[in-house]
């Protein structure tokens, strides 16, 4: 399978593109040009990789999950520990890269949207480091369920704008960030947090996150002498999955599995799984699978995890689905909570609720694996931020 997409117009097959109001075209073209110039620039890459090593703490380990492996008693389970990154998730890889683009472009004001708050924290973190003015858009429903991250962003000097329009979640935060960008186009850099949005964002965010996949190639070789049989990652917008999948697209014998949020169950319609139960449409500047009704209105989503609560998905995932290079499955909130506890108890790791979706697929996958096989789970983030939600969900008295 080839991995030289997107094409010059920003398409992965029929997906992607630049479906934006005219005012944004200038900024997207400017960003595309800048990125084209810098991505093979030695100084730029040296600075990016130095920041990843010294500020983020890369490479993240590939860790053998001994008790989980014994529990399923089939393939060996390995964990790519993005939860150990500075700020606690894979999101920092992208923001470290994009803030460098902003710096090279001379932009003084940074904006971002956030769902679970991890991208907001990661953006506020890199903006603080460069002393840039930072504004984060966050749905009011997410502000409520991720209050710890809101406080972290404020500590880092960012201004958090609560968004009340629409469903008051990630999709609406993205709308509002785009409106800010249209208005402040000349001095503002928009750090999109996933492989979504108009071209060139899906490509840029993927490339900065692909460090995860490239490390995994070397680590797999060192740890078990070959490439993994399967790689599993949760998919909301899909940046952690795209980052770990990308370097493996051309290795046809490595199975790529994305796990979406089935919420209360795909059959109930109350979920956030466009690749499993959506149709192609255009949202936030790109064509991709989308949860929508027959009039083309975007449907509300439901998921236990704020970071996956999004009706769209990155266009490259839609392409990987259609060409059958990756498989996309979905797990329900109940299955996720079960996996969340299992990982805590068996491995001493507190995964984010988003990440717990990837673990929740093990029950289905592992009985079909063999003992001499190796699977890798991308542990996209840690779950400290979710403790309030879990306490609420399980009605625990502290």
């Amino acid at each position: 399978m080839k991995d030289n997409l997107p094409d010059k117009d920003g398409f992965f097959g029929e997906y992607g593109g630049k479906f934006v109001p005219e005012t944004l075209m200038y900024a997207l073209n400017e960003l595309e040009q800048t990125y084209k110039t810098l991505k093979d620039n030695n100084d730029f890459n040296a600075e990016f990789h130095r920041d990843l090593a010294e500020f983020v703490g890369r490479p993240s380990p590939l860790y053998f999950a001994k008790r989980l492996t014994e529990h399923y008693n089939t393939a060996s389970i390995w964990l790519k520990r993005e939860d150990l990154n500075h700020t606690g998730a894979h999101k920092i890889n992208n923001t470290v890269g994009q803030i460098l683009l902003a710096k090279y472009m001379g932009k003084k004001r940074i904006i971002a949207e956030t769902g679970a708050g991890q991208h907001g924290v990661a953006t506020a973190t890199v903006a603080a480091r460069l002393g840039l003015d930072c504004h984060i858009y966050m749905g009011s429903e997410d502000v409520r369920r991720q209050s710890l991250n809101v406080y972290r962003m404020k500590l880092l000097g960012a201004e958090v704008h609560e968004v009340n329009s629409g469903s008051a979640t990630l999709k609406d935060a993205l709308n509002e960030a785009l409106r800010d960008w249209v208005t402040n186009i000349e001095d503002t850099y928009y750090i999109i947090g996933s492989v979504t949005g108009p071209h060139p964002y899906p490509m840029i965010v993927r490339d900065f996150n692909a460090v995860v996949g490239y490390e995994l190639i070397d680590q797999s070789q060192e740890s078990f002498g070959r490439m993994p049989d399967s790689i599993i990652a949760c998919v909301g917008g899909g940046s952690n999955a795209m980052g770990i999948f990308y370097p493996f697209i051309k290795m046809d014998n490595v199975e790529l599995i994305g796990v979406e949020a089935a919420g209360k169950g795909i059959e109930t319609g109350e979920h956030a799984a466009p690749l499993n139960d959506g149709t192609p449409g255009v949202l936030h500047g790109a064509k991709s699978y989308l949860m929508q009704d027959k009039s083309g209105q975007v449907k509300g989503t439901a998921s236990i995890s704020a970071g996956l609560d999004y009706p769209g998905v990155g266009p490259e995932h839609s392409w990987l689905k259609d060409v059958k290079r990756a498989k996309y499955v979905a797990v329900s909130d109940d299955e996720v909570m079960k996996a969340f506890h299992m990982v805590n108890k068996m491995e001493g790791i507190l995964p984010a609720l988003e990440t717990a979706h990837a673990f929740a697929y093990l029950d289905e996958l592992m009985p079909n694996m063999n003992k001499d096989q190796h699977i890798v789970i991308n542990v996209s983030g840690r779950g400290d931020k979710d403790l309030n939600s879990v306490v609420e969900i399980e009605d625990i008295k502290l």
Binding site: T23, S165, G166
Partner: protein, 261 residues
């Protein structure tokens, strides 16, 4: 001759500027929209721009966003909007009508849009399709429909050339960096940019986004072929939706029409 071209020709023969008025179909409800369309034309609107509501209208400010939400609560969709336009055409066959909306809704009704000219629609303005792209590539292909494109203060001269090439009817010049209903117009910049469009093409240019009062309208009409007003009309409709007495809307439109005479 197409209806938009004919209307603009008549206005220019009378030495008049065009007034393009925007309302959101289905706000407060479709029946009232029909009434408001006729009322707008009677008060001075020359071309009707009918907003097609979308759940995620990223180019709109709060006033029009909320109108979209209200309309969607009534389950307005493109089929119902075309039905509305058919009803309007029973009494008015002269006023050009443009559908303004977002690509995702249009894609769901491709066949209907391609037949929409015979049902009374004269043009489409798809906010989130860049003007140098061809709507034909997305299955919207009817030579009788005018394709209205946006040009903004940030559009490069090279792209203006491409956009003008793919546009018919008129060019909608976005007068500011921002969403609909914002303020702070820069008259000088607008004048220069419209002059540039006029220097490379004979297509009429309408100016819109951010026109609030008669001074704005007068200024912008002095270097364009007409003006587009949306948010202010939508706001007045909302304000009077309860009692459905829209004389304030009518007065506002007449005043604006007077300002650009």
């Amino acid at each position: 001759m197409k209806r938009i071209e004919k209307k603009l020709k008549e206005l220019s023969q009378d030495n008049q500027k065009a007034f393009v008025g925007y309302i959101v179909a289905g706000d407060p409800d479709l029946e009232t929209s029909l009434q408001l369309m006729h009322l707008s034309v009677d008060s001075g609107v020359d071309i009707l721009e009918i907003g097609v509501p979308f759940t995620d209208p990223i180019a709109e400010g709060p006033t029009i966003q909320q109108a979209h939400d209200r309309s969607l609560e009534n389950e307005t969709n493109l089929q119902k909007i075309i039905d509305l336009i058919c009803k309007f055409r029973e009494k008015d066959t002269n006023t050009p009508i443009i559908l303004m909306g977002y690509i995702n809704n249009f894609l769901m009704y491709k066949d209907l849009i391609n037949r929409s000219h015979e049902l009374g629609v004269d043009g489409v303005l798809v906010v989130d399709i860049p003007g140098e792209l061809s709507l034909e590539d997305y299955g919207i292909d009817n030579q009788d429909l005018d394709i209205i494109s946006l040009v903004s203060p940030t559009t490069s001269k090279e792209r203006v050339k491409e956009i003008v090439k793919n546009s018919t009817g008129f060019i909608y010049y976005v007068t500011l960096r921002g969403v609909t209903g914002s303020s702070n117009l820069d008259g000088n910049e607008i004048e220069q940019n419209i002059k540039y469009i006029k220097s490379i093409s004979s297509i009429p240019v309408m100016a819109g986004f951010g026109i609030k009062n008669s001074d704005d309208a007068k200024l912008l009409s002095s270097f364009s072929d007409g003006i587009v007003i949306g948010s202010s009309i939508v706001e007045l409709i909302y304000k009077n939706s309860e009692n459905k007495d829209f004389h304030e809307v009518s007065d506002y439109i007449s005043n604006m029409k007077d300002a650009i005479r």
